[in-house]
Subunit: 395 residues, 2 copies
């Protein structure tokens, strides 16, 4: 009578959403400031002032018919050119406006890129830990989804395991750096070696293997370099979103970039356009497109996140928790003291600490904490984490 | 190396887009006011003032984190409730906020509803003439797409032909009234009979048959009643968009409504949520959602469209053109004088009149004119249409 597959995807809410729902119910009972909710990756730093100003200026200066009118499917030409220019200035690339396809955020970008590349029998790889929707997007597009374990304890790519996982059917590998849920940024050396491996495998199997660089956290970095993967590996397609950098997650604005160096770049761009059309994306929201054009050189204020990271990572490690040092994004992986994350999350709940078991991300033994919260939330949570750890010491 | 199917959908631009591109190039040469472009269904009446004001108020009054933050997948609860309340007031229904799923416009709504309902082997029917993307959305979702001819000359549903087209595999029928490209509104009597037929066929085949009511033009009507199909037939799912009524086509905001009377309404709603998730729609644009809430009782000013319709339909019929009388939307079907639409469109080009052959819409022998243009464009086009018709009289 209806699609059982879609019903399954729609009725099983994610663990994160379940915890968030619990958090909201709990806040009703004990007050919001007494709930320490580290579950959701929802930015806590407001949109930059330039973004706010751009909205106002555009509403005052552009005619509503132009501002709110259809753009072409790939987006407004001047918006796309502005993004290309900015990428070229920062990374020395030769991307053109015609290589940019505006999307309703990174989820749409990923889904569109995956559908554009898919051929029957294809396999899509990714490195653990990873954003759980990767499985949903790849499998529903037809791919066999193959997670490859990273180096345990650092969550840098494990090239031996990656090599073993690549087969004749490997179409692409999704890379996400800075990483959700670990905050890890892949080292340049590792990425160079990874590129080398893919070049060899392309040759061995005589067909292209693509990297899909999922980069919503590119600008959320605390000093460490985030290499721009297209400069390291030709067949890289970039998926970007302004959700995190501009704190606009609800506005759904991002892009797919198919650089000119990608094999059959123009044809793949057409396939991207076709996938967007087939999936029902007529164009990315037009007002948001214009906001991006006006703010294309604006970078986010990461200091609040950095302060939270330093306080949380510093505090927890001093107490004795084992953590993965995060260089970017606003996530921290903390090891459950006895390795049992489910028990850890349940015990944490008694202290009103809400954290997510890493198993959803294939980070077994770890929990994910999103520190896109107020500084007070981080500060006031620390004594509670200390008491929680004491429980474990007492056995 | 990439999806041939997506490449095909992305590289073949529609006839309408081709004509529009020609129009833009031509405007460069002879000036915009000398090109009479009736090709695109892009609203020419600016967004209502209330919509403009709502944008401004929201940017001033709501905190940016709240205004631009993620909503839940189906949308902000208060927005959904406001839409349900408005529908109930207007149509005497018992729709709840929980029956509304906010989408990125009607294309997304349609695609999501189609994917939510699809099971292997299903057939999707629609009545001619129809929006060409129906074929793209249904076929790419897996359906066999079955167009059913309407009564020629009125473009009202032909129930005999519809009955003959329904098989055991018929899952749904897409209805679009007011209709693109004809502007025809289906008569209440016809819809009552159509519902009766579907009830019988449901019984005969012992499974539900759904109506998907695609209603972006609901509010663009010039006096004739537009029956709300869920009040005539239980298993009706409504797809709506604010693109045309609020002149916000670029903002991508609309909804799917699965009324409580629909069989397994709650499960189908879950399937809708799952389809939205799988297709990469995280949520509908958040600022636009809030604008809709503020303006949910605002109705568009249709007078400029009515004036254009009266001038164009009146003018062309007085000259001797055969037209389908349009009661809604902003489209008019005009018969090619000798039945050859391709030649008609080519000849029209000499007078800088840009119109679309009806074959793309399965309206053979007719051309589509979109009269969402300035009044001057309509007025100044008429002498040219007269000269064009003279050519035919001269043979």
């Amino acid at each position: 009578m209806y699609s059982q597959e879609m019903y399954k995807y729609g009725s099983q809410s994610s663990v994160i959403r379940q915890i968030f729902a619990y958090s909201q119910a709990r806040a009703q009972v004990i007050g919001k400031k007494n709930v320490f909710d580290f579950s959701l990756g929802n930015p806590s730093v407001p949109a930059p002032k330039a973004v706010r100003d751009a909205y106002e200026t555009l509403l005052n200066e552009m005619s509503p018919l132009e501002l709110h009118g259809y753009t072409s499917g790939p987006g407004d030409a001047s918006v796309r050119q502005a993004i290309a220019d900015d990428l070229n200035e920062r990374f020395g690339t030769d991307i053109e406006g015609g290589n940019i396809y505006m999307t309703c955020g990174a989820a749409a970008a990923l889904k569109i890129a995956l559908c554009a590349l898919y051929e029957k029998g294809d396999e899509a790889l990714t490195l653990t830990p990873f954003f759980p929707e990767y499985r949903v997007f790849t499998e529903s597009a037809g791919y066999k989804f193959v997670p490859v374990e990273s180096e345990y304890g650092t969550f840098q790519p494990d090239l031996n395991k990656l090599e073993a996982a690549i087969t004749e059917k490997t179409k692409l590998i999704i890379l996400n750096s800075p990483n959700n849920p670990s905050g890890v940024i892949y080292n340049r050396d590792k990425l160079v070696d990874l590129a080398q491996l893919l070049y060899e495998k392309q040759k061995e199997y005589d067909h292209p293997i693509f990297i899909i660089a999922d980069e919503p956290y590119r600008e959320l970095t605390y000093g460490k370099e985030v290499p721009f993967i297209p400069t390291l590996y030709r067949n890289t397609i970039v998926c970007y979103s302004y959700s995190k950098s501009f704190s606009l997650p609800g506005e759904r604005i991002g892009y797919v970039c198919v650089p000119p160096e990608v094999v059959s770049s123009q044809d793949i761009f057409f396939a991207v356009c076709g996938a967007g059309r087939v999936l029902g994306y007529v164009c990315a929201p037009s007002l948001a497109q214009q906001v991006i054009k006006k703010c294309v050189r604006v970078r986010p204020d990461v200091e609040p996140y950095r302060r939270n990271r330093d306080m949380l990572y510093g505090g927890l490690t001093r107490m004795g928790y084992e953590c993965i040092a995060p260089d970017g994004a606003f996530y921290l992986c903390v090891k459950a003291p006895d390795g049992n994350t489910e028990r850890f999350c349940e015990r944490a709940k008694k202290y009103e600490l809400l954290i997510v078991p890493g198993e959803s991300f294939m980070a077994p033994g770890y929990v994910r904490m999103s520190y896109c919260v107020s500084e007070d939330t981080v500060r006031n949570s620390l004594p509670r984490f200390e008491m929680l750890l004491e429980e474990y010491k007492e056995g």
